[in-house]
Amino acid sequence: MSRAVNASEFVIRNAHVLDPSSDLDRITDVRLTEGRIAEVGDGLRGGRELDADGLHLFPGFVDVHAHWRTPGREDEETIESGSAAAAAGGFTSVVMMPNTDPVVDKPVIVSGLMRRIEQESRVRAYISAALHAGLEGKRLTEMRLLKEAGAFCVSDDGLGTASAGVLRNGMLYARTAGLPVILHCEDHTLATGVVHDGVAAALAGIPGSPASAEDAATATALILAAETGAKVHITHVSTALSAALVAFFKSRADVTGDTTPHHLTLTDDLVSTLEGMYRVNPPLRPDDDRRGVGEALRDGVLDFVATDHAPHASEEKELPIEEAAPGFLGHETAFAALYSEIVLGGVLPLSRLVEAMSCAPGRWMSEGAGTIGVGASADLTLVDLSEEWTVGRESLLSQSANSPYTGRKLTSRVVGTIVGGELIHDRTGARFGVRA
């Protein structure tokens, strides 16, 4: 793949640096030294230079929600391929979800994954361990030992939310362990279908799950977050009501929320295709919800974007929608889809998108991250906002192909991803030059 450049110092010249966290929005130069941002200013020169004329430079994108299918389904994604896909999408930090086989619910599994990440991942990869053993919503995991082994947070993502009484203890114990909780809010007593219970489902005869399956679980989770004081992140918010609930609890709980590129750009009209490709959980929603979560993201009610990158083998997607596995690829199309649809569509200013993909999730993961401030880690993303490309199997580095944007033409593309001062994804071509 890309040419690794192990420079202890290099200068990115003439990039349009856009970083809302440090009020940068102009063409200038950035010097990277020993993996950190050393200097931002005009006229910088260095031994190694990257000519970024015409490109935008953002703080590296951060994805708190990805399924790299390791261990257990390495045919769908590995740490190597998942991290390559992340890098291709401009992501410099990624959180791996624990719904693997085996589930990441024991310290020894976390320490094993930590070693493999160190060997195989091109980006910074963090581990979400399970909140409950086997994701079953019964027994608490050994969160304090999981944290010692390297877990960054806990989540039962993939399965719905545990009963309120169990979830409450989970939040309390996570707070004791000092681990954030990422919640996939879904009430299984309501979520009995496979798509959103809307017009398309009604006409097509596909069993629908009502929005209340998400909204009721979100409300419960938020109330418990407020009461327990746990640090709770509600992931893939897909309805306008759930976003409004997050807004209500913003000042009452230590709570944040994200939504996904697909919930911001696609609707349940796609259910009428009856194609397995378009099954996802939470399901694609009607346009009112799509616009609702977009406004919530614009207004900061939803703090950031996460992709829920969910690779699936073709035999799990090329099925009737009722039988298909839920989930979409996300890393490689996230920025381009959002830029094409909602920035160029006038919903979201570019600066807010950068905040939502870089600054806000970066800060959520680590104070002082998600910025191009001097002293911060040199985790950066270079984007050509004018490049047009068509999404297809051959354009993706993921080991799977289930992108809902397949065949679509998108505007803007990541051309370089820098982690700790190293260019780990490089489509800059001849732009890179070493001065004599």
Binding site: R139, L140, E142, N169, L172, T228
Partner: protein, 307 residues
């Protein structure tokens, strides 16, 4: 408050504690001869108990009292008689002291309103267990060289505070005796208002040693906290690691206490339970002397030291 009924240690004063501890010392020295001669002590146990029941029974008999013992099995209690009716019956039989164990907090207070006898709370629900805390104070006084030596000592109470009647008696009693307290527990084993006692909450026994604990007082962890319908603790391994005492903690004269029965390898490592640092056997031994003192004070029996 301690002059007759022994219902709660919430609000107890230092001098009241000193009186009990010092009278217990007198009992232990064998300097009182049958102070409860002619008195009737009733033991009413609405919940199973071994050490507390045996200890009260022995104490009462050695002090010369007549003892009536009702336990859940084979008594009116097992036939579903209400608490109040049992208490009234024992009252009419002429009980001077009623020792009551009950699964619900506040039972002894309710009982006290329906009898002329002195009521001694031998543990009510998650409420209070005053004689346990008193015998703990006695055992600790003995270990450190007297009641006044308790002043300023640091005690970390570790474990299931939420469900512990022992903690609810130990905390006010130890504080009244002049000791500094801290709690060591995960939030799942604390009440929602974890600051109710206004003491620091520490994250582990290691943290308690850093805080400067002279004593770590472990509480029993019920199995159902791990395996119940809504577990509060993930595993024995994690619990023992952060909330239990192991041999590595035994340094600088640290003392270890536990009200019993101990879950070896959970709250206290197996090789620590009977170590020199452990007051556990001493706590049990203190039971008879302290309960004798409590019965003596409760019944108003004369307790001039025999010449």
């Amino acid at each position: 408050m301690l002059s007759r009924d022994f219902l709660t240690l919430e609000g107890v004063g230092r001098e009241e504690l000193r009186e009990v501890i010092s009278l217990a010392r007198t009992h232990a020295d064998g300097r009182l001869s049958h102070p409860l001669d002619g008195k009737t002590v009733c033991l009413a146990f609405f919940e199973s108990s071994t050490r507390t029941a045996v200890s009260f029974d022995l104490a009462a008999r050695r002090c010369g009292a007549d003892v009536i013992s009702l336990s859940e099995k084979g008594s009116s209690i097992s036939k579903g008689e209400s608490l109040i009716d049992t208490v009234v019956t024992l009252d009419r039989l002429g009980a001077d002291a009623l020792v009551l164990r009950h699964p619900a907090a506040g039972a002894s207070m309710l009982a006290a309103r329906h009898t002329e006898a002195a009521v001694i709370n031998a543990g009510d629900g998650c409420g209070q267990h005053p004689t346990q805390a008193l015998l703990d104070l006695y055992a600790l006084s003995e270990a450190v060289g007297g009641f006044d030596e308790l002043e300023g000592r640091r005690v970390a109470i570790a474990g299931d505070i939420l469900h512990s009647r022992v903690a609810r008696s130990v905390i006010p009693a130890f504080r009244a005796a002049g000791m500094d307290l801290a709690i060591v527990a995960p939030l799942t084993l604390l009440p929602q208002e974890a600051d109710a006692w206004g003491v620091p909450i520490l994250d582990s026994v290691d943290g308690a040693l850093e805080w400067g604990a002279d004593v770590v007082y472990l509480l029993r962890l019920q199995n159902e906290r791990m395996n119940g319908r809504s577990p509060r603790v993930p595993s024995v391994g994690e619990y023992a690691r952060f909330y239990g005492v192991a041999r590595r903690h035994l340094r600088d004269g640290l003392l270890v206490m536990h009200p019993g029965p101990v879950n070896r390898g959970v709250e206290i490592a197996g090789d620590v339970v009977l170590d020199g640092a452990s007051l556990v056997p001493g706590q049990v031994a203190a039971g008879i002397a302290v309960r004798s003192a409590v019965l003596t004070l409760a019944t108003g029996a004369t307790h001039e030291v025999a010449a």
